[in-house]
């Protein structure tokens, strides 16, 4: 079986720019969820989230006309490619898989708001050119000179993870030796309003796996990784952070918003990933959970993990407790977190966790990161609409 490694990382997170900054934030257990400033939150029950700070956004480059999400994606993708130290020949044959949901919706909203409120055509209509989720792939493939297969996958909260699963498949099929894979989402009014309307947001920073958890917190960001065939990486003297050993992709086919209560879809995704990775549950030291903090998700995910691993048989924590739920970026941000966990031998904590829910029979690494050498990490992304993606990383 072709071995595929992660040879480059790039991140823009609510902590700031760079994979290093991201890791520092996670390792210190710093919660980046606070009152939102980028959009008007007046009149809504939950008014907090994990935003990329304005000064960080400003530092991303001069193009203020480019959509926020595009700017996040470009910065993270550039960092990943530079980190992998790829030549332009290598880039030319790289596939590109982008997980996206909101696209340039934030800027399109500004146009629509203005037109609706004034009753007159608004010059902001140009924002519609960049509204579609596929816009990021168009921008990246052009700016970065990528000529391999280009694909935008919209799978709600599992988009970022799916991009890596599909990149893995591409390289294993022999169609390309490497792929740039990742996800991006910027804050949008639709997302903020929608999760508020569904009553899925906690009014306080989310508390995944806590007995008293009340919901999720939204966030924004972008994370890209370079996936590469191991031999190709070795021959050009590239660095391998970790190996992406397997991926599982399943669908609940149960309900548009609620997870299937038996956790069957999640279990199958996890088991498929482990089988593809050639790993048994006992080999996995840590699970980077989907862990949104909603009563439902955490309970069903814990059930899935108990079914696969047995209660208490693996550590788990939720990155979303620290940087919020970054939607399409979540799966790829959490992939980076998983890779860095392997590299540093340090498991990031679950923030805001005071009393673990008795229905979650696991050590969820509350508040403080824990030094543990792990050989394999499972990263879960279980999206709206029952889309389940699980990734297994190894050293």
């Amino acid at each position: 079986m072709t071995r595929v490694v992660v040879s480059g990382l790039g991140v823009v997170s609510p902590y700031g720019t760079g994979a290093k900054t991201f890791w520092t934030g996670l390792a210190s257990g710093t919660c980046a969820i606070r009152p939102l400033t980028a959009i008007d939150t007046e009149g809504f029950r939950s008014r907090i989230g994990a935003e990329v700070p304005a000064d960080v956004l400003a530092s991303l480059g001069p193009s203020r006309r480019r959509a926020r999400a595009d700017r996040l994606a470009l910065a993270a993708a550039r960092e990943a490619l530079a980190d992998a130290d790829l030549s332009s020949t290598d880039r030319a044959c790289a596939g590109l898989f982008v997980g996206a949901v909101g696209g340039g919706m934030l800027e399109a909203e500004a146009w629509y708001w203005e037109e609706t409120r004034t009753g007159r055509p608004s010059p902001r209509i140009g924002a519609l050119r960049a509204v579609l989720p596929s816009t990021h792939a168009e921008t990246l493939s052009f700016r970065l000179g990528l000529c391999g297969p280009k694909e935008t996958v919209v799978m709600a909260c599992a988009s970022g993870a799916a991009s890596l699963a599909l990149g893995l498949d591409l390289i294993r099929s022999g169609a390309a030796p490497l792929a740039l894979c990742g996800g991006v989402d910027a804050l949008t009014r639709v997302c903020f309003m929608g999760f508020n309307a569904l009553r899925l947001l906690d009014l306080e920073p989310c508390r995944p796996f806590d007995r008293d958890r009340k919901g999720m917190s939204i966030g924004e960001g972008a994370a890209f990784v370079v996936l590469e065939e191991a031999g190709h990486c070795r021959e050009r003297g590239g660095r391998a952070y970790a190996e992406l050993r397997g991926a599982g992709m399943t669908t609940d086919a149960h309900h548009v918003t609620s997870p299937e209560p038996s956790a069957d879809g999640m279990v199958r995704a996890i088991e498929d990933a482990l089988t593809a990775a050639g790993r048994a549950p006992g080999d996995v030291g840590y699970v980077n959970a989907h862990g949104t903090g909603t009563p439902q998700n955490d309970r069903v995910e814990a059930l899935a993990l108990a079914r696969v691993f047995g209660p208490g048989r693996v550590l788990l924590s939720s990155t979303k407790s620290l940087v919020g739920h970054t939607m399409a970026a979540a799966g790829s941000l959490e992939a980076v977190a998983s890779v860095l966990t392997l590299q540093h031998g340090l498991v990031p904590p679950t923030a805001n966790l005071r009393v673990t829910d008795p229905d979650v029979p696991f050590d969820c690494v509350p508040e403080t990161a824990r030094a543990v050498e792990v050989d394999a990490v499972l990263s879960n992304s279980f999206g709206f609409g029952g889309q389940n993606v699980s990734l297994v990383f190894g050293r």
Binding site: A197, L198, R199, H255, V256, T257, S258
Partner: protein
Amino acid sequence: MTQKEILDELKAIIVERLKFDPRRAAEMTADTTLPKGIEGSLGLDSLDFIELSVAMEERFGIVIDEGQDLADEFRSLDSLSRWILSKTA
């Protein structure tokens, strides 16, 4: 508002917000049950109930605490309209 008026408003919400056929709504009575799993009910699931709650909050000016278990109150149009009546009295 009387209970009958509330019932009629609920039927309007069921048509406008839950996208039920107006002809079907015209046939609904106080005895019509709501939740999925009850034979002959409207078959409403969790997503429908959130929509219904939001619409009722707006229409009747009440606040619904989703932390509360309101299964009994949401069982039929009769129980629901009575409950709203008690909150608006």
